[in-house]
């Protein structure tokens, strides 16, 4: 079981530090055109947090600024302005002077972080300032509580809150990535923070475990495992003391799980009726509905975010290509042609389907759900496959052997060079990016 203790987002104003000036009742629209423009980034200063009380023996004040800064850089929306030291608390003159200096250095926004430590508990306040206004307007102030061991998660939530303030949608730093780790023959499921920190095993059965996918509530993973000898589908709850649940163990393959957006159903590939076909399982009742009826291979289902359509992979026209159908199996149409395409994954925003194209190994491509504008997303070095969307629909995790062994990487869709998520031994494959954590 992995630790996922609840963090507290404190909206009410509490002692011990003095309140900041009341925010004006004006929005942050001034920045929306900046962040919406694509390549132009907002320059943000996030100095080391100021210590209000307690002894910072573990360097938490520095860690919070560093982790949140990396998250903001990763978001692709911000450029973090270099800063050393912290801005003292409860010193309006020092704050004004610091923000004036950062504004002169090109910063558009500044984060004043305040940290109070009491034993193993930490309390953090994030105050976000607009440095483009002469009075350095306060945009938002939020408090977070947790334990020292949760410091990285607190930093992720601060970064996600800052992204929310500027875009209207939270960032994706407070998420997890599940993946498969191992040599062939013994592959276990692991879960790490989205940036690769805190990796820990979820299965330890010594078998072959494959294709993890997060449920929409971010509490469980569906996956394929040979733990009972055959490729069956299971569900594991990484953060809870709950037994492994068997989802499907029919004769033949039970594979390629895909949660419906409402979390009630699971699309999957079963071959119990003769050859690999797509089915939808009602997880609560066990009712099974067959969607495809074709002599070829049908697999890799993925739901549209509306839950009304399913994209999948079929070799019915020869090699495997991406198709789309309604969730009752009707209106099948082919999206890709030529070559060899598998692993269709529908964006949570609905506008894009990514897939794996066999080409110099494998590369990731994207296509619109109407089949228009197929476009290549990765260009090597090495292969890229098994894409998984972040909940913002702007980032993808994938596996690549560009550094030799397969590792998990994450990237923006805009062509920004990928960042490495996993870096340990073994082969890391098949990432699944979690929804935002509750």
């Amino acid at each position: 079981m992995l630790p996922l203790l609840a963090l507290v987002l404190v909206l009410a104003w509490l002692a011990p530090w003095s309140p900041p000036p009341a925010p004006r009742a004006q929005g942050v629209e001034v920045f929306l055109n900046v962040t919406g423009g694509g390549t132009k980034k907002l320059n943000i200063a996030i100095p080391e947090f100021a210590l209000l009380g307690g002894t910072d023996s573990q360097g938490t004040a520095k860690l919070l600024a560093s982790v949140a800064g990396k998250d903001l850089t990763f978001s692709g929306l911000f450029s973090v302005v270099a800063a050393t030291g912290s801005i003292p608390p409860n010193d309006a003159a020092a704050l004004k002077e610091a923000w004036a200096a950062f504004a002169a250095a090109g910063a558009h926004a500044g984060v004043h972080g305040l940290l109070a430590l009491r034993g193993e508990q930490l309390e953090v306040e994030m105050r976000l300032y607009d440095l483009t206004s002469p009075e350095h307007r306060l945009i938002a102030a939020r408090k977070f509580r947790g334990t020292l061991a949760q410091a990285r998660r607190v930093a992720h939530r601060i970064a996600d809150e800052i992204v929310l303030q500027f875009t209207g949608e939270p960032g994706v730093a407070d998420t997890k990535i599940a993946y498969v780790l191992g040599p062939r023959g013994a592959k276990e499921l692991y879960v790490a923070d989205y940036d690769g920190a805190g990796a820990a095993p979820v299965t330890r059965n010594g078998s072959i475990n494959l294709s993890p996918v997060w449920s929409p509530d971010a509490r469980s993973l569906a996956f394929t495992s040979f733990v009972q000898g055959y490729p069956d589908l299971y569900r594991v709850f990484p953060f809870e003391r709950r037994p492994l649940q068997t989802l499907a163990a029919f004769a033949g393959i039970n594979s390629a799980p895909a949660w419906s957006p409402d979390g009630r159903s699971l699309a999957m590939t079963l071959s119990k009726d003769g050859n690999p076909e797509i089915y939808v399982l009602n997880v609560a009742t066990g009712a099974l509905r067959r969607l495809t009826r074709h002599a070829g291979i049908d697999t890799d289902p993925t739901w549209s975010p509306t839950g009304r359509q399913i994209a999948f992979v079929s070799d019915r026209t020869g090699a495997p290509h991406v198709f789309v159908m309604d969730t009752d199996g009707a209106n099948v149409r082919q999206l890709t042609a030529g070559g060899f395409q598998t692993q269709a994954r529908w964006s949570p925003k609905g506008d894009t389907i990514v897939y794996t194209q066999r080409q110099a190994g494998h590369q990731l491509w994207a296509v619109n759900p109407d089949g228009s504008s197929p476009r290549q997303l990765t260009f090597g070095p090495g292969s890229a496959q098994s894409a998984s969307w972040a909940p913002d629909g702007r980032h993808l995790a994938f596996q690549s052997n560009r550094l030799g062994r397969s590792q998990i990487f994450a990237m923006l869709l805009d062509g920004t060079p990928p960042t490495q998520v996993t870096s340990g031994g073994g082969e890391a494959t098949s990432p699944s990016w979690s929804p935002r954590l509750p």
Binding site: G229, Y230, P276, S386
Partner: protein, 139 residues
């Protein structure tokens, strides 16, 4: 924040037919593997002779059950390769059945690309991994 209450444990569908454990089956020298072209699961003409011999063995050893493993090389992707391995095992099974081996004696399993016989990254190696493998156990 209070700990979330566990969701009710759903009723998983319970398949009825008992499956023999794959670990109970062993490979024997009399039964040869067959091989497949890339992304194909039809029986190659040259492999039909191998299957005829395998079918003859099963017909003369009626007290043995068969497990046919389907395998794929690493050039597809995980989930597709599981389906491809399944189709390869099924093609081999269908051939044996067409030669008079009872379908009820045969179990199939796909390992996709997970259990390669050869791990180098070249066609010589990949071609060895696109196979159906035959194992037996006494009834």
């Amino acid at each position: 924040m209070a700990a979330p209450t566990p969701a009710p444990t759903p009723a998983a569908p319970r398949p009825t037919p008992a499956r023999p454990s794959p670990k109970e089956f062993v490979a024997i020298a009399d039964l040869k593997d067959i091989y497949f072209d890339f992304d194909k699961y039809d029986i190659r003409p040259g492999d039909a002779k191998t299957l005829d011999a395998n079918a003859a063995w099963f017909k003369s050893h009626a007290d043995y059950l068969a497990l046919i493993e389907g395998h794929a090389d690493e050039r597809g992707t995980n989930e597709y390769n599981l389906a491809l391995g399944e189709r390869r095992a099924k093609s081999a099974m269908n051939y044996l059945v067409s030669q008079g081996v009872q379908a009820s004696r045969i179990t199939i399993i796909s390992y996709g690309e997970e259990r390669p016989q050869c791990t180098e990254k070249n066609e010589g190696c990949w071609s060895k991994n696109r196979r159906a493998h035959f194992l037996v156990k006494p009834r």
